[in-house]
Point group: C2
Chain length 379, copies 2
């Protein structure tokens, strides 16, 4: 029984509070604000359920691991609260369809509220959560996981909503077809449901998952909280922890945002102040922050992380909470190397978002001397 | 083995040709033109497959009967031909999900191309088709069968498209939820797929299916063909066979038609000639012909059948083939009593189509002396 494994570590209320902060930052504006997920996670803990995380390398090769998460538009999941057991019903439907028991839960995306969902489902199912995820951040579509990119076929999968509907995507002609069909269903279900993908063997997860996602997000959250307590610069602490860079500071001057095909799509404009006085930045959004431009010139591109933070608290602002007048810092954080291979960039690089006219230039290279007008290069 | 049952009767090429004509008339404009389905059925027969129909009353009480049909917009199913085994894959997916074998195939709707699909699937699966259907005509939505109306829960169901995608609607919160989710998926799949519903016990089918649908549609088709051969009045022959009435003759003067949410919706206008000179008729369409009005006054309302026929040949014109200038006869045929109960009218009466301001008045009552301006009453 994996849930009795010696290497397991426990998640308590302090970890959930820190995870809320860390997951919001790694959400790069998307994945949904983890606040409501946090409340649900705390409720599950207070009911006496156990949340246990298993280090990725402790996972047995033959373990059957199922990733689970919310699917839909974050905006909707804030306005219409989950019934609570959607994810558990997904697991049960998948077990019934496949006629075997699942050994562990994995996270699809550590960014945003999908960081909470696997912990909640695993606690309800008395299973461990593996310390990993499929994105190392948030992305808007299901085929955008390292699981799918590196060859896992995510069907049969099970999708459940708060009405009690259970849909099994038994076979999809491709990962993109799975996304299309699930997206059509989630829109019909009101825009926010849960989905559990086909089981992966432990050996595959160890090789292709983004490692240590829960440890990282929790530590990142603690770093921010500690800076806040010490009146230190939280933004600077995040950059240090994530080896990222502060690329802009300014005031939100315009937010264009619409619900389109189940996604939040749009653009935010930021008028610079302090040392960015006179500059104008723009951020293209599709659930997440995808492209950062300064004075019309593209600087940071997905899959690197673009994070909008409240300039005072250092806490992340998700795309659906962006408002005129907010004073923000914009950070650029390098993505995991598993997202930078050619096969990954075909799915989660600019071309994967209909932005094929943009080239992906890794953040570290941008940051190299003479490579472009980044924060450091300008000074 | 039901497929060796003594009461079975065979369907050959002559029956398929007659069924094409009869099913098109019973389609009341919808259900798709059966022509392409006929070609597919003939192809299956020529490959040496057997098509066998089992009389409804010969069905054993404990037989497991699955209804199967096409789902989507008829217009699309004409432009994008099926791969051919979508329906068979639905049956197989359902058998795998439920872990038992299916005994017989039933028809969802005898009107239009869905009359052909069960024969094709049954021939490929070497199963009999029961002589019945769930509509006695065509309707645009899945919950509009006597199966659903009288208590059958149609999930788990399986839906397959020509790409190879297999979706199982494992549980739906209601029959309407099943329709909504399947509709969302079929639109994502390109607008024309196949769906097999949860098995029904034979005893249920015998009580709540519309009986003798295949015998009736084939005989109706033969009646038309015979009238054509004898230069007799095919329209008059149909009215006599179906105990219906000729309500209008005229020329199509306008067709408004659009694809909306996976349906063909619109209205046709007909300018009368001969004894209807000076009158204008209008027919409201949602895949099928729903409401017939004369000079602005409603006369025939769904679920009674409104059939538009070519005035010379007596063959049905489906809504997607209506064109300016066609010379047509409009018939009104009474629906089966199972569609006239209060529980049926709530689903397939005018209120089921967003036409709640209209009252359903059974055709026979309309036709009674003094009940309204029908064809006979006017003369």
């Amino acid at each position: 029984m994996l849930s009795r494994h010696a290497d397991l570590y426990s998640i308590g209320e302090e970890e959930i509070e820190a995870l809320e902060v860390g997951a919001a930052i790694l959400g790069t504006g998307g994945g949904g604000n983890p606040y409501i997920g946090k409340l649900r996670a705390l409720q599950v803990l207070r009911e006496g359920r156990k949340m246990r995380v298993l280090p990725l390398q402790a996972l047995p090769d033959d373990a059957k691991v199922v990733s689970v998460g919310g699917i839909g538009a974050p905006l909707i999941s804030h306005e219409r609260i989950k019934e609570g057991r959607e994810g558990l019903r997904c697991i049960r439907a998948l077990e019934e369809r496949l006629d075997f028991k699942i050994d562990a839960i994995a996270c699809e995306e550590i960014g945003g509220q999908n960081a909470m969902e696997p912990l909640i489902v695993a606690a309800l199912a008395d299973l461990p959560v593996v310390d990993c995820d499929g994105m190392g951040r948030a992305f808007p579509e299901m085929q955008m996981t390292t699981y799918s990119i590196y060859g896992h076929r995510s069907t049969p999968s099970a999708m459940c909503d708060l009405h009690g509907n259970v849909v099994i995507f038994d076979h999809a002609a491709s990962e993109l077809w799975h996304e299309r069909l699930a997206r059509a269903c989630v829109i019909a279900q009101g825009g926010a449901s849960s989905l559990a993908s086909a089981p992966m063997p432990g050996v595959f997860v160890k090789r292709f998952a983004i490692p240590d996602s829960y440890s990282r997000a929790i530590s990142l959250g603690r770093t921010v909280r500690e800076a806040q307590r010490n009146n230190a610069d939280a933004v600077e602490a995040i950059c240090r922890f994530e080896q990222g860079q502060l690329v802009f500071t300014g005031k939100i001057s315009d937010v264009r945002r619409e619900l389109k095909g189940g996604f939040v799509a749009g653009e935010a404009r930021i008028e610079g102040f302090d040392k960015h006085e006179g500059d104008v930045a723009s951020i293209i959004i599709q659930n997440e922050n995808l492209v950062f431009s300064r004075n019309g010139k593209t600087e940071v591109v997905v899959p690197d992380l673009i994070v909008i933070l409240d300039i005072d608290t250092g806490e992340a602002i998700t795309t659906e909470l962006l408002r005129y007048g907010q004073r923000v810092s914009v950070l650029a954080l390098p993505c995991h190397p598993l997202l930078r291979t050619p096969e990954a960039l075909a799915v989660v690089g600019p071309a994967g978002f209909g932005l094929g006219h943009l080239n992906y230039l890794p953040l570290d290279d941008v940051n190299a001397p003479g490579a472009g007008p980044t924060e450091d290069a300008k000074q």
